[in-house]
Symmetry: C2
Subunit: 342 residues, 2 copies
């Protein structure tokens, strides 16, 4: 064994079963007999098998397929990234297969395994909100398997990333609210586990600080689920339980902003007269709601294109330099609509 | 050869190259030398190779992966179908890989090939708007490869389908406009190639006929692209070039309805006072636009669940009966919002 590690294939060969049977037996999936499960597990233990130690470097031929791991296809931003990925992939003769994790770590793990079984040549990854440990990626990278992370960048070394300038985007959005005369600006924040959430919080705080506006810790409110209903309820309770009413809302995404707008309107307040609102990501619907929502547009298509270009360069080893760790940061653009124009 | 047909594998073995090299050489993809391309093509001709004659039945083990071919992941309806598919698939220990065709036949063909290379156990398909010939599916079905079609049902025999009652949905939407007092109702129709478009047109016509309302051939306007911009422009030109102004619009999807609404408002007409509008598919944004859009909700999640249940039954041959051709029709629900309430 090249890597000194036992793989699923070794176990499968030894027991004369398929690799997927081994993989599934180890994970206690249904459809495998208890007898087989026991045999597989016993041998795995005896051989000191470690999951994911797929001997990737033993593969002979390319599949001309790249895998994409995304949290949610319904997310407008991700769907534009996918379009960018496909443009570059198809133009270069590669096919694209997608797996959606639904923000679940377990699905992320099994999706990666499925894709590796399927002999993809490389991976484009935006990991799930649940992912806090990145060993499953590190293991692959240690075996020189090409991975490029997009949008959500892991807090580990030696990765290749394409992301957007979330700090600047949040700074510009908050500064715009300040410029329009809003003074008590709250932030509906994203999940704590994501670096992009932290950067948007930092941008929000920096803009308030630079303009000498009041900051309160309880004005940064996490919306971990990210649904419209969640931010609707959170916003209602903030406005009901605060003596000092906020007059500005910067939300970490448009869905949260739309929920907040609904709550504000229901409380009899006017947007933008009483409360100014800015979202993030510029969803398809944002220009159509009432009033049209200001939002920070991310270059999703460009991000998909760039990430795929780099991945294909790594795969085809056209430029060895591209295998070097690096992070490409794309700029955002603030789209001012009626929801934040006093 | 079991099926009496030469496969890519035979050519690959003979020339001592990989199957993907053969596949790509036959398609004139980049990255393959002209010399190799010539060798492959010559041998393919000599052996009378026919594309897609993959000897599927020769496969030994299951991959516990199902493939899903969808036109567009950004389409809200399809994203809810995907969620339904994943619920059932994961609960049964199957993984799901997606390929997006972007409504292009060429991508549909290459996606299917990629998925078959990847040893999927079965396919869930909603084909592209460009697909008018279904030979690539028929060939697979003739080899007993499990396929279930959802939403878009092909006009060929012996298929297993899960669809919604588009006729009834369109009938109810049109009848609702009639009930509200609208009399000159136009229909923004979907692409002609799709059966669902035809059924929605039929439902619209039947409702007008049953209520003795005027019908004009040029009141059924095709919107083949399906973007908001397209229906915006079409609606503007209808209202500008018609002496007899329409007072109702039934659109075959919410994006088209939203574009029409924008055009109507820009012309100084009021929704719903002057023009009533109803869409189809109940996109996420529909309740948030101004005024909130009435729409025909399709049971996307349920459709995904049902299609996957049937596919897994076929794959696991639990019920041989399920391999029999059949079409399951799910009912729609009209959601009445402000855009159509006089």
């Amino acid at each position: 064994m090249k890597l000194g590690q036992v793989t699923i294939k070794d176990i499968a060969r030894e027991l004369n079963v398929s690799t997927s049977t081994v993989s599934r037996a180890l994970k206690d999936y249904p459809g495998i007999s208890d007898d087989t499960k026991k045999k597989v597990k016993d041998l795995a233990e005896k051989l000191n098998y470690r999951p994911n130690a797929v001997a990737l470097s033993l593969r002979k031929s390319k599949s001309f397929t790249i895998g994409v791991i995304i949290p949610e296809v319904v997310h407008f931003f991700f769907s534009t990234v996918i379009s960018g990925i496909e443009e570059v992939a198809y133009a270069n003769g590669y096919n694209v297969i997608l797996c959606q994790t639904n923000e679940k770590l377990q699905r992320e793990l099994s999706s990666i395994e499925t894709m590796l079984d399927n002999q993809i040549d490389g991976l484009l990854v935006s990991f799930s909100k649940e992912t806090e440990n990145f060993d499953h990626f590190t293991r692959l990278m240690n075996q020189n398997f090409p991975i490029v992370f997009f949008d959500r960048v892991p807090d580990i070394e030696n990765t290749v990333n394409v992301t957007v300038n979330d700090f600047n985007g949040a700074y510009e959005a908050t500064k715009h609210l300040v410029d329009q005369g809003y003074k008590k600006i709250i932030h509906l924040a994203g999940p704590k586990t994501l670096t992009i959430s932290k950067k948007r919080i930092d941008g929000y705080k920096a803009a308030l600080q630079d303009h000498h506006l009041k900051q309160k810790p309880d004005w940064i409110i996490p919306c971990p689920i990210g649904t419209q209903q969640e931010s609707y309820e959170i916003t209602k309770s903030i406005f009901k339980n605060n003596k000092e009413l906020p007059d500005g809302i910067f939300a970490s995404n448009d869905i949260a902003a739309a929920g907040a707008m609904m709550a504000v309107k229901e409380l009899g307040l006017k947007v933008p007269e009483d409360v100014g609102i800015v979202g993030f990501s510029n969803w398809q619907f944002s220009s159509m709601i009432d009033p049209p929502l200001s939002s920070v547009a991310q270059p999703g298509f460009e991000m998909g294109e760039k990430a795929t270009e780099i991945l294909l360069e790594i795969i085809e080893k056209k430029k060895e330099a591209n295998w070097e760790p690096k992070t490409i940061v794309l700029e955002t653009e603030l789209l001012v609509r009626k929801s934040s124009k006093k």
